[in-house]
């Protein structure tokens, strides 16, 4: 039943952001990350956060999904915060605990790092929540295509990603079946020492790999039969096309950048 789950965390929708060209979204995400590093004060961060939240709200996706991606990196956020807090020693001392001192510079720096990290993750969450894996792949292929002059295998990489996406549900399903079959023969995957459990995976992994190779071989044959011969001379049914919306998105980002720069200057006195 694993196969019935949606892949990745894509949330289908019809919003402005959903309908943007995947290349626009990819470039916009990179641009937003750059802007996060341009910002030098909290006023700038507030502007960026407002921008991102506004964008997220427009997609109709519940905010809890946006922040769910933060959970795994919360440890890193806290860790960098604490590190910066105690080891940034310039500026005026605020508190002194035994040998550790917290300064206003340290507090600022720690706050900056934490906010930057959180914004980075939220931006990329927004990208993956609103873009299906397959259009992400298409976008990446199209963006990296110019590099094919330098023999960068953009098409091949995109094809591999797309095949991987296609077969993940199939292989998950197969893993589930093999696991059941081996359990029926008395295999035990759940208890025992780490070593015993690693050993217990052999009856699962060997058939899974053998099966994956068999599938790969058959798929290669099926692709051959349909005249596949790599990226050269290939066309696509769905051409990526920039539209007015993509222009608007770009302008909005430019406006944000301008605002952040202005805020930087104002803030610097």
């Amino acid at each position: 039943m694993l196969k019935n789950m949606t892949l990745g965390q894509y949330f289908p929708g019809e919003s402005f952001i959903h309908k943007l060209d995947p290349r626009t979204k990819l470039l916009a995400t990179v641009a937003l990350i750059a802007i996060v590093f341009v910002a030098q004060g909290f006023a700038g961060f507030i502007a960026i956060a407002a921008f991102v939240l506004l964008a997220a709200a427009s997609t109709g996706i519940h905010l809890k999904f946006l922040f769910r991606g933060l959970k795994p990196i919360m440890f890193i956020v806290i860790f960098t915060f604490v590190l910066n807090l105690f080891f940034q020693t310039g500026g005026n001392e605020l508190v002194r605990l035994w040998v550790l001192r917290i300064t206003d510079d340290g507090l600022r720096m720690a706050g900056f790092m934490a906010v930057r990290l959180i914004l980075l993750v939220v931006c990329s969450q927004l990208l993956t929540l609103t873009t299906s894996p397959i259009s992400l792949t298409d976008g990446l292929e199209s963006l990296f295509r110019p590099l094919e002059v330098l023999h960068f295998p953009a098409h091949e990489i995109a094809m591999m990603m797309s095949i991987a996406l296609r077969f993940i549900p199939t292989l998950m399903d197969e893993a589930d079946k093999i696991m059941k079959a081996q359990k029926a023969r008395g295999a035990n995957f759940e208890t025992g020492s780490i070593l015993a459990r690693a050993k217990a995976m052999v009856p699962l992994l060997v058939p899974l790999f053998v099966g994956a190779f068999r599938r790969a071989e058959e798929l290669a044959l099926a692709m051959d039969a349909r005249c596949y011969r790599g990226g050269a001379g290939r066309t696509r049914m769905k051409q990526l096309k920039y539209g007015v919306n993509d222009l608007l998105a770009g302008l909005a980002l430019l406006a944000l950048l301008a605002m952040v720069i202005v805020l930087n200057i104002v803030h610097a006195f």
């Binding site: 039943m1 196969k3 019935n4 789950m5 892949l7 894996p133 397959i134 797309s162 095949i163 996406l165 296609r166 549900p169 199939t170 399903d173 197969e174 079946k177 093999i178 059941k180 079959a181 081996q182 359990k183 029926a184 023969r185 008395g186 295999a187 035990n188 052999v202 009856p203 060997v206 058939p207 053998v210 099966g211 068999r214 599938r215 058959e218 798929l219 044959l221 099926a222 692709m223 051959d224 039969a225 349909r226 005249c227 596949y228 011969r229 001379g233 290939r234 066309t235 696509r236 049914m237 769905k238 051409q239």
Partner: protein
Amino acid sequence: MNNAIIEARDVCFKYEGAAALAVDHVSLSVARGEFVAVLGRNGSGKSTFAKLLNALQLPTSGTLVVNGITPESDDDCYEVRKSCGMVFQNPDNQIVTTIVEEDCAFGLENLGTPPAEIRARVDEALHSVGMSEYAQASPSMLSGGQKQRVAVAGVLAMRPKIIVFDESTAMLDPIGRRDVFALARRLNIEEGITVVWITHFMEEAALADRLLVMDKGRVALEGTPREVFAQTERVLSLGLDVPEMMKLAHMLRERGLSLPEGLMTVNEMAVELCRRRTGAVAARPAPRAEGQAPAAEGRRVIDVRCLTHVYMPGTPFESKALDNVSLHVPEGEFIGIIGHTGSGKSTLISHLNGLERSESGVVFVNDIDLGAKDTDLIAIRHAVGLVFQYPEYQLFEETVAKDVAFGPSNLGLDADEIDRRVRKALAQVGLDYEEVAEKSPFELSGGQKRRVAIAGVLAMQPGILILDEPAAGLDPAGRRDMLDLIRGIHDSGVTVVMVSHSMDDVGRCCDRLFVLSRGRIAYTGTPGEVFLHDQRLHDIGLDVPECAKLARRLREAGFDMPEGIYRTEDVAEAILANLNAGSDDKC
């Protein structure tokens, strides 16, 4: 022959490192617009021949002209592949992308077709196979039959002159099979596409224009289905089967009834027999068939009561796999569970040894409640052996002996006992210990692998053996052998539960049937009792054996046929009794 679209002259093909020719001096031609079925046991060279047609392999010697092209250069090969599309066996392994319509576009994209034209042709192809409404769907959400239709659409979009189907229905359930065959037949008739249909199913072959039977890389028999199947003995000796009606005709002829050659369908047989019956006998109320189930039922080794199972409850993907299912299995019986894909068969058998547990309903095995917290599931798995579909895909050890020993060693037995059980289990599945024990399971043939996998379960010496589609994907001879093997295991005292969607198979083996439909038990009873519901069974995607259909037809025509007979021998017996009673001259 200017009308030939495929022309082979002395075509040979040898795999690198192989001793024998896989295709051995094959000469044949296929006319434009023909529907040709290719039969032959596993390893007879059918699939290799298919790959030659598609220029996936090139002949070692001889000439092969496909649609006027003799593939020599790479460019020729692409031209051949463009005009001769191929649909493979495994629906999962030929779909490349995660969206149906993009997969359909794959071939045209490879050919560098302009986007607008791809769009138009993809829409047309999806419409033609009836998959338009699934254009945006993910292939992993589709049924096997639907996936095959997508594969056909992908080929159709390239506007081929020929489509080769390489056992494309082997992994489908009866509904999917009927569907895909009907689609191929329609494309053949309406669009004039030449079809080469490779299959193990005789009922499909019977509907082709012409048959080619391959054996050891050569064409052994050729002709219309009637001509070929009329040579019943020869066809059987080639590891194949003949349609049920031909078998019946053969049997009747052996018993002295002279019937014309080439009766192939139920309809033809019924018409012929009715014509034969001189002096109408008044229709008497037909007596019921004598009960085939043992009068005294054994102890219930499996008892399922009111089992309901819901997958992924509380999510948008929630689905009811089992709905208030109750069934029991008496000790020593041979039980059949039938149903189409998605009817809940697999979920049900997973409950029978505790692989799945449910909130609602109870399952008892040997009077032990599997739902109870303190139940020793290892002991249950010892008592109930479970052989899943395509069990050969679960083999993993370096040698056959080690693989078969996996189950017994999990039971914690000592080395001597394990060795004894491995030998016994291999003997039970008809394999020679000395020959296979030290081989890698991956070196064996498909049928042998499956036997090893079944031995792996038998080595645990279960009192109850459950098999999910044990004959799936085997050729007719392999299928017969497999069923014989399972009957042998049953005769040795094991209670057997066989899941299948072949009514012929369960009819041949089982004492009692449970028909599952959408998670519910639709019918239970002896095969004879169940087959009386032929119309309703057809509606839920199952077919009754041809002889049961014939018996009904004859009964309606006034023959005195006992109700609930379906075995070829019984039907032949009843027909002879009728004809002999009705006429003075004994045919």
